[in-house]
Structures are given as C-alpha cells and as structure tokens.
C-alpha cells in the first residue's frame, strides 16, 4: 500500500537498528507507546508481523506502577518523489507465434514531518519488577496457553503534521499471440489493455509510522520485566517453563530433573480436546 511503501522507505533512510515500519494506516493507532504486541510464528523462515492485542502495558500492571517519562526529539523532514517507467518485450517459445509488450509507468510523492518519542532505558527501570494485575486479564491467559511471546512498544516515530501521499500508475499491454499452448488450448489473442490508477491518502497528525519494541517477560510470581535486547530470545511466560520443569521432576523422581532451562526452550506444550481429558502435556525433546 501507499502507506506501507512510505513507512518502509522512511525506516530504510532513518531507521537504525530494530525500527519497524507500521504497514497499515488503520493499524497505526494500535502501535502507541506501551502497546502490547504478540507473536506465534508458524515458520522457521519468516517472521510473523507483530499483532497488537489492543492492551497497553499499563493496563496489565497492578495499581501503583507509574508511567515512565518519555523524551521527544525535534521534528525531522522527509521528502520523496519517484517517477519510473518500465517496458518489457517477450518473444514467444515453440508452439506459439507472436509477441507481447508491457509498459508500466509510476509516479509517487510524499513529504513528511515527524518526531521520535522514546522511553529512555533509565526511565524504563521504574517499570522493571512491576507486579501483574491479579487476577490477570483473560487475553494474557490465552497468550499463555498458546505459548505466544509478548512485546511492548517503547519508541514510536509519529507525524507532527497532517500530510497527503500521492501514487499514480498506468499499465499498458499490447500484443498478439497465436498457436497452441497445449493439446487442449488453441487460438489467437490480440489486443491492448490499458489500466490507469491514481491514489491520494491523507494521513493525520500523530499517526505512528514506525516503532521499536522490547520483549515482555513474566516470571512465575507474576512479576514482569522488559528485556532490553530484542535478540535475547527468552520466553514471555517463564512460569510455564517452571511447570514443565516440575513435570520433569515428577516423571523422574529418583533423580534430578532432566530438563534444564535450555532444553525446555525447545519443548512445546500441546493441548488436547479429547473428551474426558481437559488438558494434556506432551514433551517433545
């Protein structure tokens, strides 16, 4: 989308480490300071986009936790105009006579004025070791059951002025093809296809274009803390790991628990909906 293209380009030019573009204008409101994001990746090869859960860190902490102060930079300006034209010609392989050409023209423009709003690490310390609400919100219970990892937005890049983005494109295909494509399809195609499109998008002041996050870790006693490094790769729900360690202790009572924290990082808990069994854990090592 036009919004995603601009936010990605801005991140590429100004990003620095760990800054992530917001991909959709409608999502932008969910990436506020302290918004909670979740992840439950299915693949080893691509990251699932961060999914906002529509709760803030402050919503899940017990009363008494103070909101840390943020720092706001002076405005930055970013202007980007692109006009490009591509033309493609393809000659055709055996069995088909003719040729086809395609032409694609595109122009885009944007001017942004934005600022960075960040919680410095020293201010985050006031949140470390905060207690969770008791009882915990139901969404946390679901995230715990699925084994999601949770993150908290700690820095946003937001627009200081409303702005309008432009995107105009046209595709023109001209060609003639005749012959047999396979044993069933024979015939001739001739003609010209022209498609034009123009789009403008007005983005309001305060829209979040990009963000940084830190992982949320919840210990067994309901105490929370934020990991400073996003590469640390810990599990958000540490108490679930303790349960598994307890399980290994029960299984092997004659000796020491065989599962260290390291190996538990490679264990997945499964839930069954079989009648009569409300909850079953299986350990895959």
């Amino acid at each position: 989308s036009i919004f995603e293209r601009v936010s990605k380009k801005m991140v590429k030019n100004f990003g620095g480490k760990d800054l992530r573009p917001v991909k959709s204008l409608l999502d932008a409101t969910h990436f506020r300071q302290f918004s909670i994001l979740r992840k439950n990746p299915q693949s080893q090869f691509w990251e699932q986009p961060d999914i906002p859960v529509e709760y803030s860190l402050m919503d899940i902490l017990a009363s008494g936790s103070s909101v840390p102060e943020v720092e706001v930079t002076r405005p930055f300006f970013f202007s980007d105009t692109v006009i490009q034209k591509w033309k493609a010609g393809v000659s055709v392989s055996a069995g088909v006579d003719g040729s086809a050409t395609g032409e694609f023209t595109q122009s885009r423009g944007s001017t942004l004025e934005f600022q960075k709003v960040t919680v410095p690490s020293r201010n985050l310390e006031s949140l470390q070791n905060s207690k969770l609400l008791d009882p915990e919100p139901s969404f946390l219970k679901h995230c715990r059951e699925r084994g999601d990892n949770l993150y908290v937005v700690t820095e946003v890049v937001e627009l200081t002025n409303s702005t309008t983005l432009h995107d105009k494109s046209s595709v023109n295909t001209l060609g003639k093809l005749s012959g047999s494509w396979n044993t069933l399809i024979k015939g001739e195609v001739q003609g010209e296809i022209v498609k034009d499109g123009a789009m403008t998008l007005t983005i309001p002041q305060g829209t979040v274009m990009a963000y940084k996050k830190k992982q949320l870790v919840i210990k067994g006693n309901g105490v929370t803390f934020l990991l400073i490094s996003t590469d640390a790769k810990q599990k958000t729900f540490q108490d679930e790991l303790l349960k598994l360690q307890g399980c290994s202790r029960t299984l092997f009572e004659s000796g020491q628990p065989v599962l260290s924290s390291l190996s538990i990082g490679r264990i997945k808990e499964h839930y069954s909906q079989e009648p009569g069994i409300s909850h079953r854990s299986s350990l895959i090592i």
């Binding site: 989308s1 995603e4 293209r5 991909k23 959709s24 409608l26 439950n40 990746p41 299915q42 693949s43 080893q44 090869f45 691509w46 990251e47 699932q48 986009p49 999914i51 591509w86 033309k87 493609a88 010609g89 393809v90 055709v92 392989s93 086809a100 050409t101 395609g102 694609f104 679901h142 699925r146 595709v171 295909t173 001209l174 060609g175 093809l177 296809i193 590469d231 790769k233 490679r266 069954s272 909906q273 079989e274």
Partner: protein, 209 residues
C-alpha cells in the same frame, strides 16, 4: 523438526533452501490431505479476501486462537467448511491454512493484489518455479549476487503476467529490469521471497485441487 529460532539458524548458516522446501512440503502435504471440496472452498474464498488485509487477519486470529468466534464474508465460509465433519482431534486442518495466512501476511498489500491477479490468471505454478530458481542457489549467501531468470520460465507468463510477476518480485526487494531477465540477489529479499515461495506453493496445491 529443527528447533532453532530463525535468526539463530540463519546466523549459524544452519538452514539452507532444502529446509525451507521441506517445511513448505510438509504443509502442502497436510493441505493435500483435505478433501478437494474443502481445498476448493478455501481457494475461491481466499481470493476475494486478498484485497482486505483486515479480513485475512480476522480469519488468522480465529484459526490461531482456535476460537469459535463468528466471522462475516468469505472467511466465515472457509471457517464453516473446516469445522464440518468429524475428524480425530489431532488432525488439525486449520494448521496448514494458518501457515498460508501467516506467509501471506508477510507480503505487502500490493503483493496480495498481484497474487489475486495471479490466481485468476492461473500462473502460480510458473511464478513458484521462478521464485524457486532465485532462492535455491542464493539462499545461504548474505551478499549481492547477479542472476538471470531462465527464458523458458518467463515465456509462459507473457505481457501482463510478466508485469504481475515482476511486481511480486520487486516488492520482495529485488531490483528487476523489465527489459532484461537480469536481477541481483539481495539478503533483504530472502524473508519476503521465502514467504512468497510458501504462499505460491500452498495456493498452487489449492488450485490443483
């Protein structure tokens, strides 16, 4: 099943394209186990959802949460179809659909629109082969490598199909030259190209059904 996290694995060079192929193959096989009727319903109802990322996200959330929430539109048709019939509790048809949806969510809105056009034009197979040809030799290299796309894979695409395919590749971060089949491998393109490969493979399975 490899248990390393993606970043760890990539930084150690533990994964190559074969591992991606195996992961995608397992999910494609799981999808192929569903009846042709279910696969057809998924294919034809995902198509109109490609212009609406919110609808894809809603369906993904319901499948991900394994909840009984109600959806509207094509997502509800897929959901109802998946919930019909009795099957053993360990057979979870939603897992491969969830995998497909998560791969799709890595792609940009433009790519989703181009995918819809590709489904209508029935060019998924050629596109998947092109992506495979790009990924296979370059997958483990973190530096820029020039490559040339084979003409025999470009020829069946023709005019608009070629523009759609180049759009899909360019949105992954590859710099495509429409006047020639040459381009350059870029590490930044690896993740979106892998997701595109997974998406095209699973959609092609649905299309064949």
């Amino acid at each position: 099943v490899p248990s390393l996290e993606p970043k760890q694995a990539n930084s150690r060079g533990a994964f190559d394209f074969q591992h991606l192929q195996e992961e995608v193959f397992r999910k494609t096989e799981a999808l192929a186990q569903l009846s042709k009727d279910i696969q057809g319903v998924v294919f034809y109802n995902i198509l109109p959802m490609l212009g609406d990322r919110g609808a894809l996200q809603d369906l993904m959330d319901v499948l991900d949460l394994d909840s009984w929430d109600h959806l509207k539109g094509p997502g509800s048709i897929i959901l109802n179809k998946l919930r019909q019939g009795s099957r053993p509790p360990w057979v979870k048809p939603q897992d491969s659909i969830l995998y497909l949806l998560q791969a799709m969510m890595v792609l940009s809105d433009t790519q989703l629109e181009l995918l819809a056009l590709s489904m209508e034009k029935r060019i998924l197979l050629w596109q998947r082969e092109l992506v495979r040809i790009i990924l296979e030799p370059n997958f483990k290299y973190p530096w820029s490598i020039p490559f040339t796309l084979p003409p025999e894979l470009l020829a069946p695409l023709q005019g608009e199909g070629l523009a759609i395919t180049y759009g899909l590749l360019e949105e992954c971060g590859l710099k495509m030259e429409l006047s020639s089949p040459r381009s350059t491998w870029d590490l930044e393109a690896k993740m979106p190209l892998s997701a595109l490969y997974g998406t095209l493979s699973l959609l092609q399975q649905l299309a064949e059904a």
